[in-house]
């Protein structure tokens, strides 16, 4: 009956370490396996798509913390992403110039896209990149605090506008930033520029983020290891948060703010906490994105924020696995729609499985799936390239989803919740 004691015995040091470190280490190990053994098998296009998916998963899961758990409506997420991207790019680019005298990639095996490029396992270049990511996350988190504060006074739709306005302010200000200090190819001028950069010193350098032209020549550190390592950490943070008392408080705020306040939940504190965590993770995602695309022009407008929002809403407001799945699908969809593949083989397999599992009860689902497959074939035949219609499809999906299934695909639940429920029910039955 030890589960039911109100004050459980304090954990031993070993147990604490196991509980806090085991999962992240497993995540990092998985990321390493993906990086070293799975990605080399992919072609370059698919490998870079995999990076996009990772970055989008971080963004979607982080926005889930604000929009899904706490029920606050933030649509300026790209602003935090931009802050993280430009900070981290500044740290690695100017840091490389100051430390190594060149902006070239200086990472180890963990960061190198191909094993041949690496000079070591974890080099000072990697350390610089990691510092850039963390600083980007930190500064984005501070910005999240600044945006979270007004949310104390604002209800849903006003907050939405403020966050949107914040995203636009960030974008406008970044466009006004001074030019990036690039290294010229002429050796003498180059040495002089390096000297100049060293003289200017750090905090000031970060402001030189390229303005409207964009920040170029960012070293390509964002390997699958780092992206998926941070994906694992993000998902872990979100899960632990959702299961903790803090997460429950956030869910309570989402369900009914006034009721939560009268039960003693400190509303303001949790709203701001959610904002800061989400902003921090979005900043890290931005940092990874910057080191993937290597040139960061103005890509952080509200269109980007809306993309992230669509992932969260379609996946289910509050479902971590749902937003992960939605992030994957929505990142892949433009590629799929460019040359739409036939859908009927997949549908046939699904229908067959349904009949095997559910017997005659599967008839209705089978008819729907068959109809979808037939409509898809007709569309494929008539239109061909569907990619211009991508955003129209998303917009329609958003509207239809809100009318028919307002809680999103999965709602608050996770993919495996049903299975867990069933096992619990079986256990109870066995005990009785």
């Amino acid at each position: 009956m030890s589960d039911l004691t109100l004050h459980p015995a304090p954990l031993t040091l070993g147990e604490t370490l196991r509980r806090s470190l085991l999962a992240p280490l497993i995540g990092l190990a998985l990321a390493f396996v993906i990086h070293r053994f799975i990605v080399p098998l992919l072609n370059p296009l698919h490998a870079s798509l995999a990076l996009d998916i990772g970055v989008n998963i971080i963004l979607a899961v982080s926005l889930t913390i604000v929009n899904g758990f706490t029920g606050q409506f933030s649509i300026g997420h790209a602003g935090f992403m931009a802050i993280g991207a430009f900070t981290a790019a500044g740290v690695t680019y100017y840091g490389s110039v100051m430390l190594f005298g060149s902006e070239a990639f200086a990472g180890g095996i963990l960061s190198a896209a191909e094993a041949g490029d690496a000079t070591g396992f974890f080099t000072s270049g990697d350390l610089l990149f990691l510092a850039g990511c963390l600083l980007g996350g930190l500064i984005a988190g501070v910005a999240g605090f600044a945006v979270g504060l007004p949310s104390l006074r604002l209800r849903g739709d006003y907050l939405a506008i403020v966050t949107l306005g914040f995203g636009e302010i960030v974008r406008s200000l970044l466009e006004q930033s001074p030019d990036q200090l690039l290294l010229p190819s002429d050796p003498a001028a180059r040495a002089a520029q390096i000297e100049h950069i060293r003289d200017v010193g750090f905090p000031t350098l970060l402001i030189h983020s390229g303005g409207a032209i964009g920040f170029g020549r960012v070293p390509a550190y964002a390997s699958h290891f780092w992206v998926y390592g941070f994906v694992a950490l993000t998902i872990l943070v979100a899960f632990r948060l959702k299961a903790s008392s803090h997460g429950r408080a956030m869910l309570a705020i989402r369900e009914n703010e006034v009721a939560a306040a009268s039960m003693g939940v400190p509303i303001t504190r949790y709203k701001v906490t959610a904002f800061v965590i989400a902003a921090c993770l979005a900043g890290i995602a931005g940092a990874l994105y910057a080191h993937q695309v290597r040139l960061i022009p103005d890509q952080f407008g509200f269109q980007r924020s809306f993309d992230i929002l669509i992932m969260v809403v379609l996946g289910g407001l509050g479902s971590i696995s749902g937003s992960v799945i939605a992030a994957i699908i929505i990142t892949l969809l433009p590629e799929i729609l460019r040359s739409p593949p036939p859908l009927w083989p997949v549908m046939l397999v699904i229908i067959a499985v349904l009949f095997i599992v559910r017997g005659r009860r599967a008839i209705r689902a089978a008819i729907v799936l068959a109809a979808v497959a037939i409509v898809w074939e007709i569309v494929r035949w008539v239109v061909g390239d569907l990619s211009p219609y991508r955003m129209i499809l998303f917009a329609l999906a958003l509207i239809v989803m809100m009318i028919l299934r307002p809680q999103g695909l999965l709602g608050l639940r996770e993919v495996w919740d049903k299975w867990i429920d069933r096992r619990r029910a079986a256990k109870v039955e066995a005990a009785a």
Partner: protein, 350 residues
């Protein structure tokens, strides 16, 4: 004009939407008057759009994100109609009634669209939580933008609005002696063109008409009743659905009128999904919030405030930060007086 100071060759018919004001070394009075003129005329367009936001918020209590896109459609539809009537060619000579035809067709088409949006996207969600309606509104907005952007609708290129109004300078204000002794007839002056006057006259008359509609007719009484308490209004025999539909129709027509005038003032029309349009729509929304959302007089005053803030900030401080001023004002207003200048606070209940 080489060698001659550009400063006094001022023509305020810029080619792209909201360009940086000409950097001139003119007299302070001239600069001030130019800025004032532009601020008021763009501000009254903001006010027209803001009215739509505020009316919908009044009856349904949600932000109709798609309203900014109706504003965009107002501009594009009038261009499309002009093209269809072959008034858009560079050598075309549109008849004197062209502007009226374009204005009315654009208003009619956008009003129909506003009605359809309400009927098919928002009405099924009448009882849903506000967050869901907000997400739907974003969905509608994305839908309109991306649909209008399709190659067979308006495409992704910028359009050029034909000059359906004569380029008449109605009157001008002289601000000082001629700067160049060689040309004694060139005075530094602020010109007021037909288009600016027309924008002001039309928006003020539309607002007066709306004021009469809401406070002087039975329909307006219904609107105010629905805005006050939907359930009780329905019990008292107000046809709630019809009133809401009419609200959307009126709001969309006003936004279309604003879009048409905007296209006349700044003839280069950005592509439908361009950031410019979304920002313009958002600024109009900010105008509604600053004036106190749900309050019509507030929307008008707020629109002019936003227009003036934007133009004076651009002229006297930094033209690149014109969006920042507006959003900073929004945040300040929400922090200091969330109900806006004329709004009233409604306590939130469980």
């Amino acid at each position: 004009m080489p060698g001659r100071p550009q400063a006094y060759a001022l023509r305020l018919r810029p080619s792209s939407p909201l360009p940086a004001p000409v950097s001139y070394t003119a007299r302070p009075v001239q600069k001030f008057l130019e800025t004032l003129l532009n601020g008021v005329s763009v501000g009254s367009l903001y006010a027209l759009v803001a009215l739509g936001y505020t009316m919908v918020y009044g009856v349904l209590r949600f932000i109709n994100f798609a309203h900014g896109d109706i504003f965009m459609l107002g501009a594009w539809v009038s261009l499309a109609v002009a093209r269809a009537l072959s008034w858009a060619a560079p050598d075309a000579n549109p008849p004197w009634y062209a502007a009226i035809v374009l204005l009315l067709t654009s208003m009619a088409i956008c009003a129909t669209l506003g009605f359809l949006v309400e009927r098919f996207a928002y009405r099924p969600l009448r009882k849903a939580p506000r967050l869901n309606v907000l997400i739907t509104a974003i969905g509608v907005s994305l839908f309109i933008q991306n649909f209008a952007q399709l190659e067979w609708v308006f495409g992704v290129n910028t359009g050029t609005m034909p000059r359906v109004l004569p380029d008449v300078e109605l009157f001008s204000i002289t601000c000082g002696p001629p700067p160049d002794p060689a040309e004694p007839e060139v005075y530094p002056k602020v010109s007021i063109y037909l288009i600016d006057t027309l924008i002001l006259v039309t928006s003020i008359s539309l607002m007066l008409a709306l004021q009469w509609l809401v406070y002087g007719t039975k329909l307006g009484l219904g609107m105010r009743a629905v805005s006050h308490d939907t359930t009780t209004a329905a019990l008292m025999g107000v046809p709630v659905d019809r009133v809401i539909s009419i609200t959307f129709i009126i709001g969309s027509a006003l936004a279309a009128a604003a879009g048409f005038f905007f296209a006349l003032k700044y003839p280069t029309i950005q592509q439908p999904a361009g950031a410019t349009w979304v920002l313009l729509g958002l600024k109009a929304f900010v105008a509604a919030v600053v004036g106190g959302i749900g309050n019509m007089r507030g929307a008008m005053v707020g629109g002019v405030i936003i227009g003036l803030l934007e133009w004076f900030g651009a002229a006297y401080f930094s033209p690149q930060l014109r969006d920042v001023y507006v959003f900073v004002l929004l945040i300040v207003v929400l922090l200091v007086k969330p109900s806006g200048l004329f709004g009233s606070t409604v306590p939130e209940k469980v």
